[in-house]
């Protein structure tokens, strides 16, 4: 399973990627949409973990761009905001089970990734 992590908090994504790696999940990380688009050109990912609030382009729009390029890719939204607008928008985009609020326990995240990957 290959996972793409997109979050503007570099400290967060880099650490998360390392921790996932320790659990046998290959994760690449980028901090903006350009990085994300470039990354999917080079590699194939099964799941993308997107922050909802990203600079320049938000997670929902990025999801649509990525989905065009990689139709098989699945998405999980991760947000620190948890507002009603976010929740509704993300639920409408991918279903409410793909919406996680920071901080998230690594075990919960791994379980969620595995669950989606199995599908």
């Amino acid at each position: 399973m290959r996972v793409l992590l997109v979050d503007d908090e570099e400290e967060l994504v880099s650490t998360l990627a390392e921790r996932l790696a320790m659990r046998g999940i290959e994760a690449s990380w980028v901090t903006d949409y350009r990085g994300a688009l470039a990354q999917v050109e080079q590699e194939k990912f099964d799941i993308a973990l997107l922050d909802v609030r990203l600079p320049e382009m938000n997670g929902l729009e990025l999801k649509r761009l990525l989905a065009e390029r990689c139709p098989a890719m699945k998405f999980i939204f991760l947000t620190g905001h948890g507002s009603e607008e976010d929740f509704r928008a993300c639920s409408a985009e991918s279903g409410k089970e793909y919406y996680l609020i920071k901080p998230v326990q690594i075990e919960v995240l791994v379980a969620k990734l595995n669950e989606i990957f199995q599908q």
């Binding site: 390392e18 948890g82 507002s83 920071k102 901080p103």
Partner: protein
């Protein structure tokens, strides 16, 4: 008093304590007073003025009618009396012309003449012939008056020979009507006399034919007059001596206790006061050729009596009308001002709720923002600490250091605690905006109490929640319910001393159509007089202690909005219970229920 208290309109107790946008638009008491005053003035003034004018005009008409009637009576009586006395005077004149002096001195003849007079003209007392020195030479009548000397009598003196007749060489006659007097017979009577002067050669024959009339005859004439108002009709002479009996002003030959009216050729009517101080209408007429003045005196009080009776009936009617108008005006003004007051109160309450909703929305956005800002660094701490733990766990060299693992676990546990708080904040913010959804009563109460457990702990307040198992999930506005409970719990905390007990119960109500929730505290309680006002905006007993007086007003509004009802039971010193009844089936605006049921 209880009745008045119960139905006393709210605006009478209203004090406009606030300023700014929540200030009431009107001063209701002033508005009420002005409305009553203006309406009463407009309604009553014309009525009173018209009534007053009408009363004045009617009284004047009545008075002039009385004066006119009196004048008519006096005038008629005068005519009757004048012709009565004139007739008799002419009759005597006729006798002196029709009979010679010698014939008149014949006793039989004189008796015959008296009888003829009686049968022709009615009442005559007697008839006598007096010679030029005043001795009565012949007499016919019931008294023995023959040869009586009349030369000292007033009426005789008035007929002295020295004037008029002496200068004419023709028969002249002068007649006179005397005052009423007693005379030789000692009975009140009046005398009509004719001085007959007849030239005989160079000498003159003077004699007087006199007849006396009983005043009963005059009385008869006067007593047949119809005089209203306890009226009194009588004669007086020019000196003010009463000539015929009066009912109120003294007997015959007594002086009249009133002033003699001034001479006049016509019938006169004046208003005056009599000797007893009563208002009287005096009609009088000088009877020409006689010493008499005809007096008609009526008591004004009696004459006006009927009018006063009618007047008092009208006055009673006026009083009833005024009373009715006053009652109706006060009633309508009170009703209208109270309606304005109530709609103004509704306007203010709506304004509060809008402001409250905006405030809550702002708090929601703020907490979401804060939660987001904190969540990101929390996530970093979480991941870094997690990584350290991972490193310890996955690499063999650190595995043995139990203490380090413990430290990392503490950090992760603290992060989790912070995350719980931010999640609650986010949950709270989200629920402010969500409208209808399936809610679990116990869950909502637990969520609300979660914020309060710390304070309850510090203040040793026991919280007992007892929700019956058969209370199902139901559709309602979770955010509003949450606010209702937050407000009630805050309220209970404020009312209780440390160590109090807060009890929340929930059970199904009648016919299983409602949920009845009670929130009770054992705090200070609310005085009976405040209970009615407790849900009014700005009513607070905590002024100066940070109370705005809005909490319960907003709670009331929120409960109403979700279709419920809220009641209060309170006993001073024993505590307060709020009872909320919520419908199991939400009867909201159609379509609203389907709009956004989100898990």
């Amino acid at each position: 008093m209880d009745f008045f208290k119960r139905y006393k309109p709210g605006f009478l107790d209203y004090r406009n304590q606030v300023s700014g946008m929540y200030k009431s638009l009107f001063n209701f008491k002033l508005l009420w007073k002005q409305s009553i005053a203006i309406t009463l003035a407009v309604a009553l003034l014309p009525l009173l003025i018209l009534t007053f004018i009408d009363f004045k005009i009617s009284t004047q008409a009545m008075e002039s009618e009385i004066l006119l009637r009196t004048a008519r009576v006096v005038s008629n009586a005068r005519r009757t009396l004048t012709s009565y006395l004139e007739e008799r005077k002419f009759a005597l004149n006729f006798l002196t012309l029709d009979n010679t002096y010698d014939q008149l001195l014949d006793e039989q003849r004189l008796k015959q003449l008296l009888d003829n007079l009686k049968s022709g003209l009615g009442e005559w007392s007697d008839l006598g012939v007096i010679d030029h020195i005043g001795i009565q030479r012949n007499y016919a009548g019931p008294y023995a008056l023959r040869d009586m000397n009349y030369s000292d009598q007033d009426w005789y003196k008035k007929l002295s020979y020295s004037d008029a007749a002496s200068f004419h060489d023709a028969i002249t006659m002068r007649s006179n009507i005397s005052d009423v007097f007693l005379g030789f017979r000692n009975m009140p009577h009046l005398v009509i006399s004719v001085l007959h002067s007849n030239p005989i050669g160079l000498d003159w024959l003077h004699y007087v034919l006199r007849a006396s009339l009983d005043i009963d005859h005059l009385n008869n004439i006067l007593s047949h007059l119809e005089v209203s108002g306890d009226g009194d009709v009588f004669l007086i002479n020019h000196q003010g001596i009463i000539q015929t009996p009066s009912r109120h002003y003294g007997g015959i030959l007594k002086p009249l206790p009133l002033a003699v009216p001034p001479p006049s050729d016509h019938t006169e009517v004046v208003e005056s006061q009599d000797h007893l101080g009563s208002q009287v209408i005096i009609g009088y007429a000088y009877i020409t050729g006689t010493p008499f003045i005809l007096m008609v005196i009526k008591q004004k009080q009696n004459l006006m009596k009927t009018w006063y009776e009618t007047g008092s009936t009208l006055l009673l009617f006026l009083a009833c009308s005024i009373l009715t108008i006053v009652v109706v005006v006060i009633g309508i003004s009170t009703y209208l001002v109270n309606s304005i007051y109530q709609s103004d109160q509704k306007r203010l309450a709506t304004l509060h709720q809008v402001e409250y909703a905006n405030k809550m929305a702002s708090i929601g956005r703020l907490s979401a923002g804060v939660a987001h800002e904190i969540n990101n660094p929390l996530a970093i701490i979480n991941e870094k600490a997690g990584l350290i733990k991972d490193l310890f766990t996955f690499r063999q060299e650190y595995k043995g250091d139990i203490r380090l693992i413990g430290l990392i676990d503490s950090i992760i546990a603290a992060v989790e605690r912070c995350a719980t708080i931010t999640r609650q904040l986010l949950n709270f913010a989200r629920n402010i905006q969500v409208s209808l959804q399936k809610v679990n009563l116990k869950q909502i109460i637990d969520d609300v109490l979660e914020f309060q457990t710390k304070e309850a702990g510090y203040r040793s307040i026991t919280i007992a929640v007892d929700i019956a198992d058969d209370v199902p999930e139901f559709v309602s506005d979770r955010g509003k319910l949450q606010q209702v409970f937050i407000n009630l719990v805050n309220n209970a905390f404020a009312a209780m001393e440390d160590g109090g007990t807060l009890k929340i119960t929930g059970r199904l109500g009648s016919h299983d159509k409602t949920i009845v929730i009670t929130v009770s505290d054992n705090g200070c309680g609310i005085p009976q007089e405040n209970i009615k006002k407790i849900f009014e905006p700005f009513f607070t007993t905590k002024s100066g202690k940070g109370g705005t007086g809005l909490g319960l007003s907003i709670t009331y509004g929120l409960v109403k909005e979700i279709g419920g009802e809220i009641d209060i039971n309170s006993t001073i010193g024993r505590g307060t219970t709020f009872i909320i009844r919520l419908p199991l089936v939400y009867h909201g605006i159609k379509g609203e229920a389907d709009a956004s049921i989100t898990g």
